[in-house]
Amino acid sequence: MSDNKKLSYCFDVDGANFTSAGEASVKVKKRLREAGFDPETIRRVSIAMYEGEINMVIHAGGGKAEVVIEEDRIVIILTDEGPGIADIDQAMQEGFSTAPDNIRSLGFGAGMGLPNMKRYTDEMVIDSRLGKGTKITMTVYV
């Protein structure tokens, strides 16, 4: 085991099981606490990740969430093979949502997912291709 090995955790976000959405975020939160990150950083990472997980379940039928933990930063990479985001600028607007009614009735789909992810992280890069999928990379600096 080398000293330079990055600490990373990978999670399968199950698109068929809406009730399990948000579980990876809870696991990451525990790990960040064990690594001694400050509560505010942990809160930012877990909210951004939670929103990302929910998005992948609602819109993309699930995907993968990878979290890379380094001394000075935490990087969250969310990858899915969903329909892709047609208009990223529009999707970034607060209140804009394409979530179906049954999801809205659960209290989700308020159009705050992507805006919150941007708000709680220092960097967010969206790479989305229609019909192929979306990759979102978020970084929180410590």
């Binding site: 600490l7 948000g22 809870v26 064990e34 001694g36 990150f37 509560p39 877990s46 909210i47 939670y50």
Partner: protein, 422 residues
Amino acid sequence: MSVYRHSVSLESEKCKGCTHCLRRCPTEAIRIRDGRAVINTERCIDCGECIRLCPHKAKKAIYDPLESINNFKYKIALPPPTLYGQFDNLDDVDCMLKGLLDYGFDDVFEVACAAEMVTEYTRHYLKTENVQRPVISSACPVIVRLISLRFPTLAKHLIPIMPPVEIAGKLAREKAKKEHPELKDEDIGVVFISPCTAKVSYVKNALCGEKSSNIDLVVSMSDMYFELLNTMKSEIAPEPLSRTGMIGVNWATSGGESSSLLNDRYLAADGIENVIKVLDDIETGSYPCLDFIELNACPGGCVGGVLTMENPYIARVRLQNIRRYLPVSQNRPDMHGMDHPFPAEYNVGEFPEINPVRMFSQDRKTAIRLMSEAASFFETLPEIDCGYCGAPNCRAFADDVVRGMAKPEECAVLAKKKNGIN
């Protein structure tokens, strides 16, 4: 705080080293070492879950024996409303309170009365500006400890008021001194009849915000139950003693504390696993529209405590019966002209500091390296969580190994593979 004194202990000769408690401990505080369970006292939150689960009765609750009340000249019983729900056919609380006096107590002070005061204070606290919402109840000591250990960011949401039992103890002591000025402080014994182990830890560790708790002894509700069966006489109409209303009685069951706030924006969860799930969600920022959160470690609320006699759901039905013709509340402190939502003497101040027991290292770089090692080692483990190594699951075992608390060869599956057995 120096050494934390727990109220859950192990009778190691009865322990068979099975994995029941190991798997279900909500803070992963238990390991099996040399065939016996060992409790990590830094992680234990005294929830009593292992006492409930142990098939060999090897986990036991620590509390004061009933006889110890005789060490005091003037004995005051603090019966919580949970006690009212333990008896079959009890429809008049006065019979039970009289039973306590006949047993040998000089006075009784119902915790339910203090609970009604806390309800009133909480209602005012919720109206105060700048309080961290949702406000979390601080009545259950397991929850307070759980939050300080695992959810430190939520500590500022806890309402900084003493729990009803402490206020009851304080008022009972003041009443005794007033009525019997000849009594010295050490003559007065305030005895709480507890439904759970956590209240024992609460008193022994003086978590009330004062130097020492106003409660001197904590006895077990089940011990008291059997004594009361002998002393309670229902045929004689007892003198009226009870001073609680419906709200005070409701505190014994989950949802009772919050529903009495007369504000629908509340959540009430009970059972330690459910509670942890709710705290995880709140920490992530869910439930933004809630004002109040009531959390009880025991299933069903205090009626589900490990020291109770009756099934919590039956107890709940009985309490519904008892409260039927009671006034809504009989203890409403006068709030006129008060600047604060509750008197300063009931303020507990700051809740315990963050205790980073789960951290791998104080140094983040080292912590990340160790966690990376744990993650790599975890990859080699079977992930069947058999518990044979003595850790609750493979992930915890991997952590233990890099923390130097376990050796890789303790994994039976790895050892088997190494020896070429499939």
